[in-house]
């Protein structure tokens, strides 16, 4: 019974459609329930993942996989959905263009992400990607009255469209050469023959570029800073975790599995991209004054670290990537909850606006320190272990230079994270009035912080789970 396995997707779509109608008919004043319903929807979907647990099959003409990998990412995406919803509620309520569409789009985006992660057919993956993208374009421009938001939207849109065109072109070539778009068939395809063909390598380049765009790898990252800065802050939060995670899921399905035969070719590509991304990301982040923009570069650097795992693409490195994604989602969710808080309270997006926050909102500030510490990769946080596993896999597979570069970059990254911590702790607040943390944001912060510590200190169960669901053995 195939539909049982895509129950989560169905639920999401259903709820989304209902909300769409609701937001149209219910007048603006009375839409307070929508976020709650959205969160409930995500939660329901998460529950609906249950029947598929432990299943190992392929449905819809082998287009969609029912496997642990898919479930793993589904759960993560739905968690992202919930966190973002909670984080958005207060902020969106303040917007003049409030209303349900926002949440509807969010749900569609998440649906798209799920499709990306669970499909085993390039066509389906591409469709999922488009779904995510189009929702994202609109979300980026959601604050219509704000020219920056518009600009973010248009830039993201144009770049996105071009990139997906390129990706599509690559796909077409791939299809042309192998006669299939199905990853399972590709896996079984005569691999020797593959690595011979130049056309195929060209196709591979286009694929890398297309997905590189989605996860914002340098040099395909350039949309990200602008989009991050311009988009409404909750949307930025979503961008910084959702689509990236989905993109990574797809990358794992396509390259280490589908195109394993070409490993010799794309491995080096990813290595270079990883090196460039983390370096450029960190260096550029140093100068930023706007925290959202800084976080954009930070996340570019983070993706750089993760991509090392793709370059290595050993069993351990893939598990490392999955662990990293898991950790990263919670870290960034929490971090952005903080950014949203200040934005929402009208305190600002500039780093100097964070001055003296340790007095104004001690717990929140402390939580933020935890997140930064995690992003730097200092022990007792999931961030440390995430980096540690990547690092280990790299050293193990002889990518010593990447490992060292990773270490160096972590040191550099201290520079800009420190800037914020310094503002929060070592500088006096301009206005000492305490900042009240609304419960929804507080929940996100707390979840983020606890998860960051828990996933770090008790990493074993998660590692075991990942070991079970990892597609690469």
């Amino acid at each position: 019974m195939d539909y049982l396995y895509i129950l989560p997707e169905l639920i999401l779509v259903a709820v989304a459609l209902v909300l769409l109608v609701a937001s149209a008919v219910v007048d603006k004043g009375r839409q307070g329930f929508i976020p709650a319903v959205t969160a409930a929807g995500f939660l329901a979907a998460m529950v609906a993942v249950y029947p598929a647990i432990g299943q190992q099959s392929s449905i819809f003409g082998r287009m969609v996989a029912v496997d642990g990998f898919a479930q793993f990412f589904k759960v993560i995406f739905l968690a992202v959905g919930i966190l973002v919803t909670l984080a958005s509620a207060g902020y969106m309520a303040k917007q003049e263009t409030s209303g349900g569409e926002y949440y509807v789009l969010l749900m569609f985006a998440v649906t798209g992400m799920i499709i990306m992660a669970s499909s085993t057919d390039l066509l389906a993956i591409w469709l999922g990607l488009e779904l995510v993208s189009m929702a994202s374009y609109v979300l980026a421009g959601y604050r219509r009255e704000d020219p920056k938001s518009n600009e973010a939207a248009i830039k993201y849109f144009l770049m996105g469209a071009i990139a997906s065109a390129a990706l599509l072109f690559g796909l077409s070539l791939l299809y042309g050469f192998t006669g299939t778009t199905n990853l399972l068939d590709l896996t079984n395809y005569e691999q020797k023959a593959m690595s011979g063909s130049a056309v195929l390598r060209v196709a591979m380049f286009f694929l890398v570029a297309g997905f590189g765009f989605k996860v914002a790898l340098v040099p395909f990252h350039m949309w990200a800073p602008d989009a991050y800065e311009g988009a409404p802050t909750p949307v930025t939060a979503f961008f910084s975790i959702g689509p990236k995670a989905a993109g990574l899921a797809a990358l794992i399905r396509i390259f280490p599995i589908g195109l394993a035969g070409l490993a010799g070719h794309w491995s080096i590509l990813f290595a270079i991209l990883a090196a460039v991304s983390m370096t450029v990301g960190n260096l550029t982040a140093l100068g930023q004054k706007n925290i959202k923009r800084m976080m954009a570069y930070s996340s570019i650097a983070q993706i750089g670290y993760i991509t090392i795992g793709l370059a290595v693409s050993s069993a351990r490195s893939i598990e490392a990537i999955m662990y990293y994604v898991l950790a990263y989602v919670f870290i960034n969710a929490g971090l952005f909850a903080m950014i949203i808080l200040l934005d929402e309270r009208g305190i600002g997006q500039k780093i100097e606006d964070y001055a003296g926050l340790s007095q104004r909102a001690p717990m929140a500030a402390a939580a933020m320190v935890v997140f930064f510490v995690a992003l730097i990769g200092i022990p007792f946080t999931s961030g440390f272990f995430a980096k540690f596993f990547i690092f280990t896999s790299a050293v193990e597979s002889g990518f010593m230079w990447l490992a060292i570069l990773l270490a160096v970059n972590s040191a550099i990254s201290v520079g800009y994270y420190y800037g914020v911590v310094r503002a929060m702790y070592l500088e006096a607040p301009k206005d000492p009035s305490p900042v009240k943390v609304p419960p929804s944001l507080g929940a996100v912060l707390l979840t983020g912080a606890l998860a960051t510590l828990a996933i770090g200190i008790f990493s074993e169960p998660f590692l075991r789970l990942i070991g079970l669901v990892s597609p690469v053995r």
């Binding site: 830039k155 130049a198 380049f205 570029a209 100068g287 800037g419």
Partner: protein
């Protein structure tokens, strides 16, 4: 049997020191009696110990394993033999007298309890040093006496004099100690033990010999050079006179400075095996004896005169040991302890009365303070070596040994004897006879109280009789009691005659120059101007050291400090600055406060960072261009390289 309780002799003063330190203030008179009582008991015990050993008892030793470093045991313990016994008596006796004397001298001092506590602590340290049966414990006591000496010299630390003198004393002696330190290490590593008998046995067994042995011995001796203020490390002792006079008497005349001599005597087993080492000892001693005596002839500060005479006499003892006159050296140590303590306390009494140390402000005190005067004169006679006073016998023995050893040394020591007599006469004349030069001070002068004169008398008596045990009159009993297997040097009457002659001659000259108008001193000075000023400036030792050692070190440290601030830390700064210039950054990555490594990297990095940011033009099409340029160029390059 008394010997097993010898440790009490040292322990009591320690307890006294602690008691005074903590509770001294509670008592009306600062708990001085605690110290005196303790030392008195120690003295009695010492006498008992001495008595037993004199009665032919076996020398006693107690050791225990102090440490066990993975199969490398380190023994520690105490021993009482004849030499120790003598030292115990000397130390406890002088110390007791000085403490009694101090009641009067230090009366009403601001830090009276501190003074007594430290004094007792010194006694403890000195006794520990004497009781030690191994180099380790000896070294510990050695440093602790250094500490107490430092504290006592700096007793009046408000004044610049004591402040610098105390520091000078400690550091100068520590320089010597480093030598001793290494010497001990060498001996331990070769003989595998710290204990004196073991080391001596090891040396005898030839575990260490030849040059290495000489080096080791000389290193050990360098410690003695520091403590006993031998040339070239003598400079601290005269300055040490900044301390209270009783302290000078106890530490810087009778006991601590003699520790050096004691050390050599103790380690004689090591020295005896190396003639060259003994030669070094002898020559250093000789040089010191003469040099100090010469300087003493022109010193105007009464205590400085005595200080230099102490240095010179210590030189004598070294000569004695160096030339093989083991007994002689130790014997002179003993007698000297008494009469030099006497002289210092006498001078203290004078200073107490006149509140000055300048002999030019004294004179004609013999009537005012007879006891002080006559005891002082007795001390002088003893020091000058007039029979039958104590100094004569011991000095005579040293001269005798020197005579058998080497004519030059003999001559020089004889000359030193002459000088000694000369400058002491000078001191006596200037202080007690002639017309008072400072009438105001002379008016207020008065004889000191009993608790000060008492010790003087006691010491005066000792200054007379202490020599007898070592004299033929008592059949050289001392020599039988303390000896190092060396053959009894057969007496040479000529030597004795020459000794007495030189002493008398010295006194005569001294009297003629200072007692009578016979010599016009200004003319004399004018004639001997270069020599005069050379001696007057204490042979320019202080100046020399100030410019070389001290100046050198300070310069070095200044350089090091500068280097650390500007080079080691600044190097990275420089890199940073360079990076800053390269990346022409002006304030991106504003860790303005952060320099050093951080700044260096920061500058380079953020320079790069800024350039990279330029890449983000904001024109979406340039983004797209980058995108495709990368892909296409990537493909081309890849295919060219032939992936």
């Amino acid at each position: 049997m008394m010997l097993p309780y010898a440790w009490l002799i040292a322990a009591l003063p320690l307890l006294a020191a602690l008691a005074i330190m903590f509770f001294g203030r509670r008592f009306k008179n600062g708990g001085d009696f605690i110290g005196i009582a303790a030392i008195a008991v120690s003295f009695v015990l010492s006498l008992l110990v001495f008595g037993q050993l004199a009665g032919g008892a076996e020398s006693y030793r107690f050791t225990f394993t102090w440490l066990n470093l993975g199969g490398v045991p380190v023994q520690n313990g105490i021993a009482v033999d004849n030499l120790t016994a003598v030292m115990l008596v000397v130390v406890t006796l002088v110390s007791m007298l000085v403490q009694i004397y101090s009641r009067g001298y230090m009366h009403g001092d601001v830090r009276y309890p501190r003074y007594y506590a430290t004094l007792s602590f010194f006694t403890f340290s000195m006794l520990a040093l004497v009781l030690a049966d191994n180099f380790l414990l000896l070294y510990i006591g050695w440093e602790l006496v250094g500490l107490s000496s430092y504290l006592l010299i700096g007793h009046w630390f408000e004044n610049p004099g004591p402040r610098y003198a105390s520091m000078k004393a400690f550091i100068t002696t520590r320089i010597g100690d480093v030598g001793l330190f290494i010497g001990i290490i060498v001996l331990f590593l070769t003989t595998g033990a710290f204990g004196f008998p073991e080391v001596a046995a090891g040396v005898a067994a030839g575990k260490i010999s030849g040059t290495l042995l000489t080096v080791a011995a000389v290193l050990v001796f360098s410690g003695a050079v520091g403590k006993s203020a031998q040339f070239p490390l003598h400079v601290w002792l005269p300055d040490a006179m900044e301390g209270p006079t009783p302290v000078s008497a106890l530490i810087h005349a009778a006991t601590m400075v003699a520790a050096g001599v004691y050390l050599v005597a103790r380690a004689y087993g090591v020295f005896a095996e190396s003639t060259s080492a003994l030669a070094v000892v002898a020559w250093i001693g000789t040089i010191t004896a003469v040099m100090a005596a010469l300087i003493a002839t022109l010193a105007t500060d009464l205590k400085k005169v005595l200080a230099y005479s102490t240095i010179s006499q210590l030189g004598y003892m070294m000569v004695g040991l160096g030339v093989g006159g083991y007994t002689a050296g130790v014997f002179h140590l003993t007698t000297h302890a008494f009469f030099k303590a006497l002289l210092f306390l006498g001078s203290g009494s004078v200073i107490h009365a006149l509140h000055t140390q300048e002999m030019h402000e004294m004179g004609g005190l013999v009537k005012k303070m007879p006891v002080t005067a006559w005891t002082f004169i007795i001390g002088t006679a003893a020091l000058a070596g007039i029979p039958p006073f104590a100094g004569f016998w011991s000095k005579d023995e040293i001269l005798l040994s020197a005579y058998h050893y080497n004519p030059v040394i003999f001559g020089l020591t004889l000359f030193a004897a002459f000088l000694t007599a000369y400058y002491m006469t000078r001191a006596v004349v200037l202080t007690f006879f002639g017309k008072p030069r400072d009438h105001h001070k002379h008016e207020h002068a008065h004889e000191s109280p009993a608790n000060m004169t008492g010790p003087l008398v006691v010491l005066a008596v000792l200054a007379v009789v202490a020599g007898l045990p070592g004299s033929p009159l008592m059949g050289n009993w001392f020599g039988k009691f303390i000896h190092f297997g060396e053959h009894e040097a057969e007496a040479v009457p000529a030597v004795m005659v020459m000794a007495i002659a030189s002493a008398l001659l010295g006194i005569l000259v001294g009297y003629l120059v200072y007692g009578t108008k016979l010599v016009d001193r200004r003319k004399a000075i004018a004639v001997t101007r270069p020599v005069y000023s050379f001696l007057k400036h204490k042979m320019y030792f202080d100046e020399l050291y100030a410019y070389t050692v001290i100046g050198g070190t300070q310069a070095l440290s200044a350089v090091a400090g500068w280097v650390d601030k500007n080079i080691v830390d600044g190097l990275v700064n420089a890199v940073g600055w360079l990076g800053a210039q390269l990346g022409n950054i002006s304030g991106w990555f504003d860790l303005a406060a952060v320099d050093g490594l951080v700044n260096g990297v920061a500058a380079v990095v953020s320079g790069a960072g800024r350039r990279l940011r330029r890449w983000q033009t904001g024109y979406v099409q340039s983004y797209a261009l980058t995108f495709f340029a990368t892909v296409i160029i990537g493909v081309i390059i890849y295919e060219l390289i032939g992936g």
